[in-house]
């Protein structure tokens, strides 16, 4: 078992999920509470990674973050090194790639909150921030949990974006999916089985948490 790759995968998934939560909660609240055609465009944009092949997204990001663009050059001069082929670059790629998996459940959960409650909170002086934290999040707890778990799992199992944007640098960008690919390529099926089982366990446990939490006897329904 490649413990370094496992640790890196978990670190990447945790960082991505944390960043996604910070981005997705206000974004989902904005999409639900405000309605105009610009926001419909923004919603479509956040959903794009769902239909874009991961390798294509990875390629675009590689080009964007590379030395050939102003963005890439700006980031390189800011950080002192290029973002591509680094852990930071993987985080950026993962956040973009998993954005719809965080935003969509939250949009669904927030939209399911009774508009009469939102109106009542507004009448009682709640601004957008209080509305989100005192009303939408408590009433959409299950959607929040779903967003966290899906973002985490999606990042754990990511391959195309990681390979394209990060390559295969041990300790920096080599995740479990890359390790599995390498093991299969080298016909090392025993090790590949072990890696695949680890990835499977990492997926099944959080999914079970979602379903237990969402079952009628499971408490947190949102």
């Amino acid at each position: 078992m490649d413990w370094q790759a496992l640790a890196l995968t978990l670190r990447l998934a945790t960082a991505t999920t944390a960043i996604l939560l910070v981005l997705a909660v206000p974004l989902a609240a904005l999409l639900v509470l405000r309605h105009n055609r610009w926001l419909a465009g923004l919603e479509a944009l956040t959903a794009m990674p769902l239909v874009l092949p991961p390798t294509v997204l990875g390629f675009f990001l590689l080009v964007l973050l590379g030395p050939g663009t102003a963005v890439g050059r700006g980031i390189t001069s800011l950080l002192g090194h290029p973002l591509a082929f680094s852990f930071g670059g993987l985080v950026v790629g993962s956040v973009i790639y998993s954005l719809p998996f965080a935003v969509q459940p939250l949009v669904t959960g927030f939209a399911a909150v009774d508009p009469a409650l939102v109106d009542a909170a507004k009448m009682l002086g709640a601004g957008p921030v209080r509305l989100v934290f005192s009303l939408l999040i408590p009433l959409a707890r299950r959607s929040l949990l779903t967003a966290v778990v899906l973002s985490f799992l999606h990042t754990v199992g990511e391959f195309g974006v990681v390979l394209m944007l990060g390559g295969d640098i041990p300790g920096a960008t080599r995740t479990l999916s890359i390790v599995l690919y390498n093991q299969v390529e080298n016909f090392n099926y025993a090790a590949a089985n072990q890696t695949a089982a680890t990835l499977l366990a990492l997926s099944v446990v959080p999914l079970a948490i979602i379903y237990v939490a969402g079952s009628p006897r499971g408490g947190t329904r949102g």
Binding site: L117, D119, A120, K122, M123, L124, G125
Partner: protein
């Protein structure tokens, strides 16, 4: 005092009003679909008119010509809708305290107790909304709306789930409390008995237009004649 001059289109419906509510207690009466709830939401700031102006005590809270639209929480206006809209994850006392964020804990607790006593709901303070009946929920919603001491109270058929005797007793207690605190009230109803019983000024709304305004017996005279004629014809 509420001054209105506005137009609002909602699908095929067109609300067009120019009026002034100066009485302490005004009842907006009209059949379903007359635009009563739409008007209330416009006054509350929950919706915007297509054009026009709404002023509370001379202060414009909505003025499309000047791009003014004060958000609901800044109008010192409270509303109790037909659906009480109690926050299900909060206790009754936390619901009533929701609009009192700026107060210190002691004053907030005192205000919550006062409001719950007014609506005769003191014993419910630790309960969750899902355990309340429809009438109890409406009383708590009323307490919650009154707690921030608004200058204007908007009521959208707030007593629909209360039985007659309970509704009358609450209405009488509420009216004297509002008078004491100088809170102007605009109540929507489609119940003619309720409109008469309140003893208030009545604005009769029909198909998005103000059909009559004045003391209940005068404003509703034409409506009463219409109903009698309709009954006779059927």
């Amino acid at each position: 005092m509420v001054e209105l001059k506005l137009e609002a289109r909602r699908g095929g419906f067109h609300l067009q009003l120019q009026c002034r509510f100066a009485a302490d207690w005004t009842v907006i009466f009209g059949p379903s679909g007359a635009g009563k709830s739409t008007l209330l939401r416009l006054m509350a700031g929950l919706d915007r008119p297509d054009s026009g102006r709404i002023a509370l005590d001379g202060e414009p809270v909505t003025d499309t010509a000047k791009a003014i639209h004060l958000r609901p929480g800044l109008r010192r206006t409270s509303m109790v809708a037909q659906a009480p809209g109690l926050f299900p994850h909060l206790s009754v006392s936390a619901n009533v305290a929701y609009g009192l964020k700026s107060m210190d804990r002691k004053s907030r607790a005192a205000r919550v107790a006062e409001m719950l006593e007014l609506v005769d709901a003191t014993e419910m303070m630790h309960r969750r909304p899902r355990s309340l009946s429809g009438g109890e929920s409406q009383r708590v919603a009323l307490a919650r709306a009154l707690a921030p001491l608004p200058r204007l109270l908007l009521l959208d058929e707030p007593f629909s789930a209360l039985d007659g005797a309970a509704s009358d007793a609450l209405l009488s207690r509420l009216q004297s409390w509002l008078k004491e605190r100088r809170v102007q009230t605009v109540m929507v109803t489609h119940d003619a008995t309720e409109a008469y019983a309140s003893g208030a000024e009545v604005a009769l709304l029909r198909e998005g237009r103000l059909a009559a305004q004045g003391p209940a017996h005068l404003a509703l005279a034409t409506e009463r004649a219409r109903i009698i004629t309709r009954l006779q014809m059927s």
